[in-house]
């Protein structure tokens, strides 16, 4: 189970076949949430972020067969980031021209569209968003595959940050079993995450 070679060929490689239904669904599930949330957090409203997500995905799909992207250059994610950033910039430019200077996130302070963070910060925000979504997806995928108690031990220690001792007492497990559960779930998550990260 640990460290096995990725069994799934690269998703991005398979996306070159633009007529494959399963690949498209998988691609949307994995990447659209990243783009959407990233755009929302830059101050776009839901509808605008949704449009932007669709535009970004269209650019990706359109370009993916027209040229070879170079995985060594930071891979697909870096390329997707470039495309998303470009779309964000042009959205901002359009919006500014149209005179809508700011956008509101409900419940959150208003974000001025002009205030896009510096490139490097933007990229690290992007990376964080990607990881957030990837982790959520890996959890969705993995949770049904393990015993509920195992999952609970993992969730409490790894996500909620509770100590192994306390979790063991509350779940009626041995301390070793809690740590073992945590590591075993981590190993499964990693398996899921690894293939996606290689793109």
């Amino acid at each position: 189970m640990s460290a096995g070679p990725p069994t799934r060929p690269s998703l991005i490689g398979r996306l070159r076949n633009r007529h494959d239904r399963a690949v498209w669904a998988e691609f949307v599930e994995l990447y659209a949430p990243v783009v959407f949330s990233f755009a929302r957090k830059r101050g776009l409203q839901d509808a605008d972020a949704a449009d932007l997500t669709q535009d970004v995905l269209r650019s990706v799909v359109g370009a993916i067969t027209r040229f070879e992207y170079a995985p060594a250059r930071g891979g697909f994610r870096a390329w997707l980031f470039h495309i998303t950033r470009n779309h964000l910039h042009s959205f901002r430019r359009r919006t500014l021209r149209a005179g809508r200077l700011t956008a509101q996130i409900p419940g959150v302070a208003s974000v001025a569209l002009e205030d896009l963070p510096a490139e490097e910060e933007l990229e690290s925000l992007w990376e964080e968003e990607w990881r957030r979504k990837l982790f959520a997806r890996a959890c969705e995928h993995t949770r049904p595959l393990v015993e509920p108690a195992t999952w609970e031990a993992f969730h409490r220690t790894a996500v909620l940050g509770q100590s192994g001792q306390i979790v063991a007492e509350e779940l009626g497990m041995s301390v070793a079993a809690v740590y073992l559960a945590k590591s075993r779930v981590l190993a499964r998550l990693r398996q899921f995450v690894q293939t996606a990260e290689e793109d």
Binding site: M1, R18, V61, G62, S124, V159, Y179
Partner: protein, 763 residues
């Protein structure tokens, strides 16, 4: 108490992940041993170390909207279906029916196969020309423009003019037509990517590619200008690079601007970028062909640096800068660009059209000359080269005659006076004799006034070039790593007292080019060429935690307080990482895609200094990543060290230079050798700040008294190039590591990789 000696091996731990009935003793141990709990998690997550502290879930975000977005996207059964939908609010209703089975519809006589993009004025389709049985591109003027009489007229006029230009570096227009109220262009279909996509993908291009592409664009422009046509929107997105041959093709003559001009009063619609626009265009003045030349200058700039000359948060800001500011010199961003190429770009970027190179033809001629010079580099002063050979011959001869007198005596004296010699008969040999340099490098006269320090210990065992050394603050243990040009796949821990190897950490067949310690000295931080930084304890071979990245790690430094670790890579990036949380707190793009060679924290932890292959030494605010100082250091710096409580920064390259806090060069530490390109790869300052040591490719190490700048020692370690130096905490001894003799640029066989410890205390 946990008995760490009982810690299971990594393989036993990793078997736990799969075992159905794990051994009782192992579980008991795991329950109590934090180190093994950590180790097990590290094994479980492998290179995805961030899984151990994943980003928190979003609480502010409404999952409802995200679900809507996903279900909207999934209404397209496949990726291809998404492409059939035109961008934004443009629908494909305008397409006429067709009998072609794979077509979305037809425009005029042409069945269209897919949407390949959108330009400033509409949609571009890949389509079929059935009469000539060829693939073509059809560009349709968006309905909102077609409805605007002025825009349509202008579009037609410009397109017809452009159709008259037939040139191998221009995308040829076959026809301009109107049908069913649609206005469209029929063009050559050019498979490939745009220059914009290439720059987005690859960053700055090679100087040769830049000159070649710029030349082709200039030739295309010359052909258009000869027809009286001004492009007015030359930018990387309008330059297509044809697949395979890489030929540059200029597209969209006059079109985008034709629409823009007609529509400038309309709301929120201009899609063109001002990034490449000439100042006179920005000021809405009358433009001629020289505006295109300015834009070509901007394109050269973007190919050279990865970005347009001016950047601002808003289009208006860019226009303002275009009119008023001078761009950052190209070679300040990318020193690889030859000066003559930069000069062409600069002359094209002149604010006043009259100051630019007057015609596209003249630009093409200049670029051709640049290309020729690139292909036949001028050999720099070959005569001087020969003179040095001559000098070398003479000094070698002198050395041979005087050798026994000048060299052997100090050596014997030194050995005789050192009671703690390891017993091995290592002969520390003075400079000229042992220097296995290529002939032009061994030109220096023998230095008789500098004594050779005594070897007090040797550490034998490595089978690869020692690239990094670090001494535990207790002065008893030493860690060494091996890497380029030849790593041996191990990190080794040595006992300083006995010279014995205590422990070995196998790391696999990758190079480890840097090592340092956390401030307490308890944790070893090693950077690898597979992009990982791994943390180890002195007595265990299990890595505690790892940072992964896509680029080879070139240097690591630990903050003097707290947990931060600065990591430099070959992409010029420096990341500040907290291994406890796994978070990268800060990413500094310190040397724009060039190797970051060295990184150091100031003693107060507030500054980070970096040296890069771009010949720049920079300092940064360690918490914000803001650049504080920048200096150009000729041939560059490989080593960095703070001295004088952080008031001074030392760099080693051709020489050891000493800089003050504001980035001014104060003085150099010299050793009497003429400047050579056998760079000093490492520099170290003793803990008390009184001694500075440096070593380099010439296989020599030097020790200076920092206060008087006097050279205390200079000697050869006799193992070829040296890459690492470290003082013991008491400053009395210096450790040197390296090992690689280069022949014709290759690492020659028969190298030795001995680490030596020298007595270097001041007399």
């Amino acid at each position: 108490m946990v008995d760490h000696l009982a810690c299971p091996q990594a393989s036993r731990l990793s078997a736990l992940l799969d075992a159905t009935n794990p051994a009782r003793d192992l579980l008991d141990h795991l329950a109590r041993c934090r180190q093994c709990q950590n180790a097990l998690e590290c094994i479980a997550v492998g290179e995805s170390g961030w899984l151990r502290s994943p980003p928190a879930r979003d609480t502010a975000e409404s999952p409802h909207h995200l679900m809507q977005v996903l279900s909207a996207l999934k209404q397209f059964p496949t990726a291809a279906d998404l492409l059939t939908v035109p961008p934004e609010d443009l629908s494909l209703d305008f397409l006429a029916p067709t009998d072609h089975p794979e077509a979305l519809g037809a425009i005029g006589p042409y069945p269209v196969l897919e949407v390949v993009g959108r330009g400033g004025m509409g949609v571009v389709f890949r389509a079929l020309d059935r009469a000539l049985n060829r693939i073509i591109a059809v560009k349709v003027l968006a309905p909102q423009w077609a409805a605007n009489g002025t825009a349509r007229q202008r579009f037609l006029r410009e397109a017809r003019a452009a159709a008259a230009v037939a040139h191998e570096h221009v995308v040829n227009i076959h026809a301009v037509d109107e049908s069913n109220g649609l206005t469209y262009l029929v063009m050559e279909y050019v498979p490939g990517m745009s220059l914009q996509e290439r720059i987005d993908r690859d960053g700055p291009l090679d100087a040769k590619d830049i000159a070649r592409i710029a030349l082709q664009v200039a030739e295309g422009l010359a052909a258009a200008h000869a027809q009286g046509l001004v492009h007015r929107d030359v930018k990387p997105a309008n330059i297509l690079l044809e697949n395979g041959v890489g030929r540059a093709r200029l597209s969209d003559f006059g079109l985008a601007r034709a629409v823009d001009d007609a529509s400038s009063t309309q709301h929120g619609t201009i899609t063109g970028t001002p990034d490449y626009m000439a100042p006179e265009q920005a000021a809405a003045q009358v433009v001629d062909h020289r505006a295109d030349l300015y834009s070509l200058g901007s394109v050269i700039y973007a190919m050279s640096t990865g970005r347009p000359p001016f950047r601002a948060p808003t289009a208006l800001g860019v226009l303002h800068l275009t009119a008023t500011a001078a761009p950052l010199p190209i070679r300040a961003v990318n020193p690889d660009i030859p000066p003559d190429l930069e000069a062409v770009a600069l002359r094209l970027l002149a604010k006043s059209p009259a100051d630019r190179i007057p015609t596209a033809e003249a630009v093409a001629a200049e670029l051709r000359a640049v290309l020729v010079r690139m292909q036949q580099p001028i050999v720099s002063s070959p005569r001087r080269h020969w003179r040095w050979w001559g000098a070398a011959g003479v000094s070698l001869l002198l050395a041979a005659i005087a050798g026994s007198v000048i060299f052997t005596r100090p050596r014997e004296e030194n050995h005789a006076s050192v009671p703690i010699d390891s017993g091995e008969n290592v002969r520390p040999t003075p400079v000229s004799q042992s220097d296995k340099a290529d002939p032009p490098e061994s030109e220096e006269a023998p230095v008789t006034s500098v004594t050779v320090p005594a070897v007090v210990r040797t550490f034998e065992g490595h089978r690869g070039s020692v690239r990094g050394l670090a001494v535990h603050p207790d002065g008893k243990r030493l860690v060494s790593v091996t890497g380029w040009p030849r790593g041996d796949g191990t990190i080794r821990i040595w006992d300083i007292e006995s010279g014995r190897e205590l422990h070995r950490i196998p790391v696999g067949p990758i190079n480890c080019d840097c090592v340092t310690l956390t401030p307490s000295g308890d944790t070893i931080i090693a950077g690898f060429t597979d992009g990982t930084v791994r943390l180890y304890e002195w007595n265990s071979e299990t890595e505690m935690v790892r940072l992964s990245g896509e680029f080879d790690i070139t240097c690591v430094a630990a903050a003097p307080f707290g947990r931060r670790i600065a990591v430099g890579d070959i992409n010029g990036r420096v990341r500040v990482w907290d291994p406890a949380t796994g978070r990268v707190q800060l990413t500094i793009f310190a040397h724009a895609q060039r190797h970051c060679r060295a990184v150091a924290f100031s003693p107060d932890g507030k500054l980070i200094a970096t040296a890069g292959l771009d010949s720049r030494v920079r300092t940064w605010d360690a918490s914000t990543g803001q650049m504080l100082t920048e200096t150009l250091n000729g041939a560059g710096a490989w080593g960095l060290a703070f001295a004088d409580s952080g008031q001074k920064l030392l760099t080693s390259g051709i020489e050891v230079a000493v800089w003050d806090a504001s980035g001014r060069r104060q003085f150099d530490l010299r050793d009497g050798k003429p400047p050579s390109t056998r760079y000093l790869k490492a520099v170290a300052v003793s803990r008390d700040g009184t001694a500075v040591a440096a070593c380099g490719l010439d296989g020599l190490f030097r020790v200076w008294d920092f206060r008087t700048t006097r050279l205390r020692y200079r000697a050869s370690a006799d193992i070829g190039a040296l890459f690492a130096v470290a003082f013991t905490p008491d400053g009395k001894y210096l450790l040197t590591g390296g090992g690689a003799v280069f022949r014709n640029g290759d690492c020659a066989p028969g190298n030795r990789f001995t680490i030596r410890m020298w007595a270097v205390a001041s007399e």
